[in-house]
Amino acid sequence: MGTRDFIRERFFPHMWCPGCGHGTVLNCLIRAVESLGLDKSQIVMASGIGCSARISGYVDFHSLHTLHGRALAFATGVKFSQPALTLIVPMGDGDALAIGGNHFIHAARRNIDVTAIVMNNRTYGMTGGQYSPMSLMGDCGTTAPMGTLERPFDAVKLATAAGATFVARTTTYHAREGISILKRAIAHKGFSMVEFLSQCPTQYGRRNGLADAPSMLEYFKTHTVPIGSEKAQEDPNILERGIFVDEDRPEYCESYAAMVQKMAPSSGDGGAL
């Protein structure tokens, strides 16, 4: 199968602005799925609201376009009732960490086998460029014309602290790395969180001195380093990329199935209850 077999071509060209990083995330995602050899009829994509959430309309998987911030709750329901399916949840930074912040930490805590992709463009692009909980201190937005005073979340640290068993960060500049991280995340048994730094030249870039897609990708190239690089220790503006957490812990659906098994009536004794 080719990459075109995983998209709904009738909806192309897509609705994202020229140079939007979300298209690159879609590009990397379908290549990861293709390379894993997954059956597209066994994949469910649940998304919330925002530019990022529109990705579920462009992939030829089962797709759910749900409530703002609640995609992980819907995905949890799907996974819990049909544990054999592969669940992928693309979210924007606001969708995942502001509106859906609670769903995010609790899905991570439960370690349910869902792959959450946080497409972090540091703004609310669809509604006009308001600053988000991932906007860096001093970043300008329509609601922060002089620069935001708030400190952003670190999605990697947040997911790690909440208990996610696979945590990674990459950028749309590092597309090859993005594909390999997405492959590992989807194959991982348990909650996976991939923070994908994505450019929004229209709403974020224009207000922050990076008016086109190439200059935003140049920024990702110069302001991210592989995990462990000394540069990240010396300069707080430089972010580390790579896989931060990859560990085995009992997965929620499996633990539940084991509980059901334990409680099921066994032959002879009339059951455990």
Partner: protein, 68 residues
């Protein structure tokens, strides 16, 4: 491993929105902007089939076809 040989660079003009990423990041300056601001393969002979343009393209408009 044998070095891949380029057969064709296909750019879907209906999907390309002219963001310029492929032109900016191509390591061998294969692509250029046309009159409409969209990418076209001006120097395919320089292409080394690294496929960076294909993987980074936000529009899924670029395809590097390699000779079998």
């Amino acid at each position: 491993m044998k070095r891949p040989r380029l057969k064709e660079i296909v750019i879907n003009r209906d999907w390309c929105k002219g963001c310029g990423l492929c032109i900016h990041f191509c390591p061998h300056c294969v692509l250029e902007e046309d009159a409409e601001g969209k990418a076209w393969a001006a120097h395919p002979e320089r292409c080394t089939c690294c496929r960076l343009c294909e993987l980074q393209c936000p529009e899924l408009a670029t395809e590097i076809i390699i000779e079998e």
